[in-house]
Amino acid sequence: MRRQLKSPAGAAGSAGAADPGALLLAPSRWRLWELALWAAIWAVPVFFGQHAALVNEIAILALFALSLDLILGYAGIVSLGHAAFFGVGAYGAALFAKHVMPDPLVGLAVGTSLSALLGLITSPMIVRGTDLTRLMVTMGVALVLLELANKFDGLTGGADGLQGVVMSPLVIPFIGRFEFDLGARVASFYSLAVLFIAFLLLRRVVHSPLGISMQALRDNRLRLMAIGLSVQGRLVAVYTLAAGLAGAAGALLVQTTGFASLDVFEFHRSADVLLALVIGGAGWLWGGLVGAIAFKVLHDVISSFTAQYWTFWIGLFLVLLMLVGRERLFRPWSWFKRGQR
């Protein structure tokens, strides 16, 4: 079920008397393919400006999926309500822009903080309990928020959504001042930049002692306690961080599209991001990105055949994917072999 972090471990034959420091540091070094991939990703909005809106969409979904990976891939929590944080970030940023100040970066910070706060508040619920109760609680929080947003329609615009969220230009010190254009070019760079920064941040965390301890938590909670580390504290920290990043994704959505609607809280949003992450692979940093791209492609391909019934084909895809086994998706030669993973 879990993919390992990229590390030189597992090689047959020993590393002999190699310096432990070097061995420990090795996984944290940037690989050539990682650099190449990011260069390619950045090249897209630069050279293919006509796809800016698509880049924007995928970047937002990728950030959302990356945040889900934190709790699914590392803490092992199955959440069907991650949209709760996405929605809080979205509405938080939208309302902030409309009523307080339309600066995008400040709004982003506000959206992120609000959803992180929600994550912190709800974290006691997910630290205990079984898979089922956690599933219920995460779904429940999202449902409650959906209802709240619906009921307080004076504030949120209710079923019609919150229109007319206009952002002021993006001001980046030493770099410049960028107006959000209708062609979404600035938006695509903005979202991609936020995604990139989040990725860099998480990459550092994953290879730090905290990150290793999260991997250890995933492997064996009992053992983690037995070496004196707190399971609960870590889960709360990771859940809060995940909530914050999901909120950032939500904030980006409203800032770049100009409006917020109730569907930011809906079940299908939680289910879609879960699916995207599973396709890309939970438990490694690139899972969210790869998954977001694959999901978007899948969605567009299927929708071009049958716009109304795409849920059927997605459902079929899910069923087959689960029957075959998630890890075997990218190893077709193992499809016809029986037995173990």
Partner: protein
């Protein structure tokens, strides 16, 4: 207010019958089956189709709904559910969501997305009233029928569970499938039967309650949450647990929607979160059960 209580009890009993199959599946096979709502929906649509297209009487459609969904459940269990048993809960969740999507889209395609109307027979449309004023108890015959049927089912199932050999084998298999298999209990067959009966009950509940609950393709997703609440709060290791949870849920929902219409379904979710915070393993589970 008594009428509300009565309505709430009817709703709760319905939820109980609907959710029972799910609770047993979870307790027995440790399988989170989010497609359970689809079986309920199937039962409702079977009722509709038989009544409207084949002209069957209401009462006859109920056992038909049970049998057909039970058969479908058995077929699916044997073919696609069984390989999923040992897999992690995440896989099971995604798998069953996928099935639900397929079911919802299929119904939408073949039958259409408008809500279906159930033509109840005349004898179920009567209404009995006792007392007057705020303490009046108004009992619709339909709801009485629902309560009576569900109660009978609950008692019957409890009897099967505690008095028959199948029941004791089932309880053994729930406690520890490996040991049970070691004792020669045909665990696979018990899983199959239990899953079939559970799905059949869902179908029956869907047919029985189609009028109250509203039947359209969004049914599985709308009500799945309620079924899961019943299982999470009531626990999956008994019949009385889900029964109590379902009644609580039904009454809370009906009363909540009446007295506080602004907050509607909201109340139920908050209540659920509060209960699960207080007792993460549900109100009735045994300690330490997964």
């Amino acid at each position: 207010m008594l009428t509300l209580l009565f309505d709430g009890i009817a709703y709760g009993m319905l939820l109980f019958v609907l959710a029972l199959g799910l609770a047993v599946t979870m307790g027995l096979m440790n399988f989170i089956n989010l497609a359970h709502g689809a079986f309920a929906m199937a039962g409702g649509y079977i009722l509709i189709l038989l009544m409207q297209r084949a002209g069957w009487p209401f009462l006859a459609c109920l056992p038909a709904a049970f049998v057909i969904t039970a058969a479908a459940g058995a077929l699916l269990e044997r073919t696609i559910y069984r390989p999923m048993y040992g897999k992690p809960h995440l896989d099971q969740v995604l798998f069953s969501i996928g099935l639900t999507f397929m079911a919802v889209a299929s119904v939408d395609f073949f039958i259409g997305s408008s809500p279906q109307n159930v033509q109840l027979p005349d004898w179920l449309r009567q209404r009995f009233e006792f007392g007057s004023g705020p303490w009046m108890l108004g009992m619709g015959a339909y709801r009485l029928f629902i309560i009576a049927t569900c109660l009978a089912l609950a008692l019957g199932l409890q009897a099967v569970l505690s008095r028959t050999r199948f029941g004791s084998r089932l309880r053994a298999a729930v406690d520890d499938p490996r040991v049970a298999a070691g004792l020669g209990i045909p665990v696979n067959r018990i899983f199959l039967l239990t899953f079939a009966v559970g799905s059949g009950l869902a179908g029956l509940g869907g047919a029985l309650g189609a009028d109250i609950l509203g039947l359209d393709p969004t049914f599985p997703l709308k009500f799945m949450v309620y079924f899961l609440i019943v299982c999470a709060v009531g626990g999956t290791s008994s019949i009385t647990g889900p029964l109590t949870a379902a009644l609580l849920l039904g009454i809370a929902d009906v009363m909540g929607k009446y007295y506080l219409p602004k907050l509607g379904a909201f109340i139920v979710y908050v209540l659920m979160i509060a209960i699960l915070l207080w007792r993460p393993q549900g109100l009735f589970s045994r300690e330490g059960k997964r």
